[in-house]
Symmetry: D2
Subunit: 463 residues, 4 copies
């Protein structure tokens, strides 16, 4: 997952992008960059780490100009090194351009080999760089022609921001996997991954960019193009489950409300007799509140989350093991002692943390621990921008629900059903990508891609 | 406020202190240090910033030995510079010693002048250094004699850890202002400001150090001394209100439970007709849950707290003002829209943040905003270790509750009463210091100290 | 000017390159890089500053493999930023390659525009990158074919090292502007800009790479190719005058001896009655010794050079001006007082330092100051790798010798003649480039290049 | 050895001290500090490394005020850590003071034990700190009284600068071991270890501070005091031999001239038939020029010294050994080949470098190598501020001249005689300390000190 944020025509453009990236920090903590334009040149600052660290000594006066784009990286493809931090900025025949990409391309490997055979030299290992090279070699007359040329050749998930000396371009692939919204503030335009950043800077939400839409923002205003062949829609349901902030509206509805409804439906599907409902903080809070309502059980705060566990934590020596979860989450004994506890989380991926949480609650004196998960079992890897582990590491891929329960040492374990989950959103169910739950990938793969992506390499029996 | 943590006789002593300081990070974020002893020498590492930042590249093998103490600094007295980071380590006639101090001395200025007149040279501007110099000049035969000599001369609040080559000493002043607890793990002893750190490292709580007690931990085990004249007890009620973590037991009872009871009593004292109760996260959560129960109103999560706002945030330019609160706290519009909202916080000091919160909730569409505070109005500065502003800056010192309500633009504003607050704890009310609410300071001041401490300097009309 | 150094087949390859770059530090102090190969991959470390600073904390174990090349950058073309530090390393269709370039291309601008028009994306602003792109787009069958293809299109001065996974290639342009020598040590091959680095690492000089020669060093040994059309030779006489170290052999002869002869001839051409000859240290020392011999005057050490003036010196405030020269060079009053002094330097470029030196000598009590320069007046810019200022800044371009003398405030000023200078070398005079003295550039320019290079832009009257 | 520099009453005081420390860099490269005074407070900046590195990003506006002192540290006593970098700055009963010390105290250990017994707490391990504590505990009425009190108790070598809010004090011990000179510039006063720094900043030399003199510089001007019991003078002859810059006047005469005379006398004492005289650069240059004159042999430049070998050089791996000398000094083969060479150096301490130099010259083709040393054999350690090794490591302490010659593999080896050396200076011979050559220490030692200083601990048979 990544976060992207762009501003066109504001005297504090790069400062606003900084604030926007800060508000999108949850979408990527590995590295960030900002590129600005003053109408003649592009200016770039990048770094590894959190937005606040990278830019703490930054001199924003170096990021000149009234337009800017930024990117928070959450590694999906390509190693974690400085060269891979976006936006990618290049000089090419027509001038300069910078690109920020949220999503993942499935045919990047193939396109890169082809481009290199014709003499292109790549700077990074990120898939997004093929888009840049395809623009550079395009014979398109205008920049927009070149962008369309390029995007017609790539396959996969992409919400994009492209900044040139004079224009800010926003794109959402025809499936609409990743969100991208347009806002306005005092005559300036904003493009962002999540609407909560509009609130942050005091901008007004205008509308979501449509699946398959390109918007070109320039001195002529906002122009919209729909140059791609229409496909089905495939919005990522995980944006609602986990990625987006609860104070955002994503794909047209409130993330908090969707999560709460998921908790409510989960309670209706699989309630259990218990004394209290507690969330795994902070991501499980809305679902736990919904579960409390749906299940008619009192909500309490049984686990404290530390504010101080960041990226830089050093793991202590082997001789003092297993501190990871305790440093981040600590039980409140008084709340849990002697109780039958329902603990609600948004999802289970590997199961490692969940197991520690169950054991922590039980050690604090809980009589029973019932785990409830506000998403279905994650059984398939994502190829559209979420950095899921390989199938081998997904606990639901290799274990039944009962096996997982035993592994977690929970008294009961229940997941929401795929149907239940899709009832929580207002859009029609077929507009969402739920491939990580049922393996039905919206984009057909070629055999080559299946091999490249290692799609089924950890399963002798492809499903 | 500060946090202190010590370990005696554990092969991973400095690593455990690191974990302990991490778990006490909320008690001080300005700087931290660890000093260890290998029986012959002391080893020291210090830094400015968060524990995880300071020790991220630390080589713990340099902090040799089986005993160690650590300190998180929250500046109370003395400027914020490296030299003031504790533990203070010195060489003196008998060898080496290191000191970590939680609290504040009221006669430090006087003692320093006196010591300097006799030729002592101070390294720092922290009040705690006078204790060290008094030990160095003492003619006491043993180290313990010298410590007692020294402490008989200082006046104020102190929970102390002192490490020498061979011993770990823990002290709590006779008033018992600040907490200090003793634990045990595999034959090692632990001293800590808060019991939640025992859970963190898997240690067992033994007992609180008593007001006026000195414990000497050495190869002979734990020896207890009560060398000071007995005084009244004066435990700091603000530990329960705000400072301690909810998962700690402080002064013999669960912080979470006390906070919850405060919220419950607050609801009973000043309920209002409303649709939902929301906390100011995270410190207002237990009180809001208690209020929800006491007031019979549904609890919800109306404000999201960002995990990424740390110390290093750069304030954007003047032209983009007022982002401070928004970056840290963001409203969930869907929860608040059209509702009559009770918002619960633990305390109000200056009122600046509360005002922004009220306005944020109202802008999100709330019909009414009722602010409820789970502590009485803070009207007097603290001289025992809490870094309160001067009286001029305390909003409750210069404004009535009604004036404050108007300033915050809330529909109603109510505080818990002092009596109500003290009903939430089990110990008898007279054992607590509530000077910040009623101005009745437990330690009598000399005229000199009144002048030095600027006790009444911002009021022409001392109360 | 730049320095390049390569090693093939030595277990300490990158360590030897580090030592080699250290010994070539005088050829470039702006930044350095090392790229190594372990037969499968290339590994790269670069930095801004001196070799010893860049690699002081370097982990040479990361520069794996038995072959490596390195480069010291002295900016000639392209801004001073990290991205411009060489070797340039890229991945392209056939694998990886790294390039280190000493010299300057005159048609780089034209080639870059052409390559960009076909879609190439450049990473840096250094001229050398065009060579890389020309290799990447070449349809040549072997890597050597591609290199030859590429070099047939570039025009200018180049001594090159190219490292691939399996080969080390050395090239010298057909004019032979810049030196490049081949050495051997325990079965390993070394390529270096200057032979003094062979002494440093204990290697044996084999021979100079010939003008127009390509050597390919691989497991098959050293193979030599002469694929380019023969041109005249044009070895840079400034290597002897200033750039190379006196302990190097360049273009087949001892630099120290050439400089000494230049001083001797200078004395024969323009002796003056005086008491002592002193050098401007350290570059003027050999010529001053030669002058002392040629003029029959005693040599002395009248100016001390500080060892501690490096790149990082901060200029003090405006109010304390003119310290630059004094911090680097200080007069020895006792030596100069009351004397008629001949001061010998290797060359005058802008004249700023010379003027300060004359005034410093005179203020120390010298009765007369006679400046003698062991090279002719520098009147034309260099386009082959020496970073001379524009014509406007060359004092000899805008002033006669007499005007220069008056500017320097010297009693007399004499330069060696072009003919005298060329008598100091053994090779025949027409094999040297002396364009900076007489404006006769060995490579014909196109009109386009004349405009791009700003060749005559500061003179209304091209000569 | 250390360097000290002070300025009183100049608007650019700290900037001038920075320049002064730069010009005294040769006297200490381990660390430096500057302390300034604005009449009310002292301001301090310190660091490890070279002056130019430490202050490269320094903000001189933080070093406020019109007076300042600085210190370059060359470790003599105390470990190499930040805390030991001078000036030492403290607050004490009367205000603030800063101390910079060149020299070494012989009774520091004894005084420190005594001071600690009375309760003093030391911050560092440098001997100079006892002076500070003795000032702090003195009952003297004025600051000057306290300084005199303190210095009457210390024994050893000291040239001192002491800065308070209002005064700059300069002191030279009664033996006059280390230099200290007073200068003047536009109404400001300068105190410096070496007069060459007056030239550097454009100041005028007034006079040397006398042995046993204290000067107090304040708004009242310069006041002089001679409060100590008169002793013999014992100026360090090594200042002339090696430490001071040749462009300085030290103890009343030109260092360059003294060195040149030493070379001349050396040639007269021990000339040899040879073809050329070469120096070990740069320290051997003046003596080699003197030898050339005295011996009637031509002077040449047979060894090149690299400008780029600084503190930060990383030693390459064991497998590529013995590069140390080669990286710093490289022979000029053309000069040495087939010659009988006299090589002149200022002194031999351990003999390691000399051995490498002899072998390097011989490998370059010299027929004979005659080593000549412009100081007598160093046979005893210095206790007055020069960081000589223990007796065991001094080659002349354990080997005869003939044994040393064999070790160096020189054809002949001759040192100047003690009498010859003392003929090179104008002051009478008995005014110099030559203890390192003959073991006659000017200050009598107590038995305690003999043990503490390990004076004879490496010889069973004290001489």
């Amino acid at each position: 997952m990544c976060g992207i944020f762009g501003v066109f025509n504001h005297p504090e453009a790069s400062n606003l992008v900084y604030l926007g990236l800060h508000g999108l920090q949850h979408r990527g903590q590995e590295g960030s960059g900002i590129v600005s334009s003053d109408g003649n040149s592009l200016y770039c600052e990048k770094g590894i780490g959190l937005v606040s660290e990278i830019f703490k000594d930054a001199d924003f006066s170096r990021l000149k100009g009234h337009s800017a784009i930024g990117h928070n990286r959450y590694s999906t493809y390509g190693e974690s090194v400085m060269i891979n931090v976006q936006p990618i900025v290049v000089n090419y025949a027509l001038g300069s351009m910078a690109l920020a990409h949220n999503g993942n391309l499935v045919n990047a490997h193939f396109l890169r080999s082809e481009l290199e055979a014709y003499g292109s030299i790549f700077q990074s290992t990120v898939d997004s760089e093929v888009i840049i090279h395809l623009i550079a070699i395009s014979k398109g007359r205008t920049f927009l022609d070149r962008v369309i040329d390029s995007l017609k050749r790539v396959k996969g998930a992409y919400s994009l921001l492209i900044l040139t000396e004079k224009e800010l371009i926003g794109v959402r692939d025809s499936y609409g996997f990743r969100p991208l919204s347009l806002g306005e503030m005092d005559g300036s335009y904003i493009l962002t991954s999540e609407s909560s950043t509009f609130d942050l800077i005091g901008a007004k939400f205008i509308r979501d960019i449509l699946p398959g839409e390109i918007v070109v923002i320039s001195d002529r205003g906002v122009e919209s193009y729909m140059p791609f062949t229409k496909t089905r829609e495939a919005m990522c349901i995980f944006e609602h489950i986990y990625f987006a902030r609860p104070d955002s509206y994503v794909f047209g509805e409130s993330v908090n409300l969707v999560r709460r409804k998921m908790g409510y439906i989960l309670a209706k599907e699989s309630n259990v007799e218990a004394d209290i409902v507690i969330p795994v903080p902070d991501s499980g809070v809305p679902a736990a509140l919904g579960y409390s309502e749906g299940g008619g059980l009192p909500y309490d705060n049984g686990i404290i989350r530390s504010h101080y566990v960041g990226r830089t934590f050093i793991e202590p020596k082997q001789s003092i093991r297993h501190f990871g979860v305790r440093l981040k989450l600590n039980p409140v004994r008084e709340v849990l002692k002697g109780k039958r506890v329902v603990v609600v989380d948004d999802s289970i991926v590997r199961g490692t943390t969940s197991r520690k949480i169950v054991s922590m609650i039980r050690e604090s004196g809980a009589r029973e621990v019932h785990m409830r998960i506000a998403s279905p079992p994650v059984r398939f890897p994502c190829f559209y921008g979420i950095d899921t582990p390989t199938r081998k590491e997904l606990i639901a891929s290799k274990s039944s629900v009962e096996e997982t329960r035993r592994h977690l040492t929970a008294d009961t374990l229940e997941y929401i059903s795929i149907e239940g989950m899709l009832k929580a959103v207002s859009s029609s169910p077929e507009k969402f990508c739920v491939a990580c739950f049922n393996g039905e990938y919206p984009i057909p793969f070629t055999n080559e891609e299946i091999r490249q992506l290692g799609l089924f390499d950890d399963s002798s029996d492809p499903e």
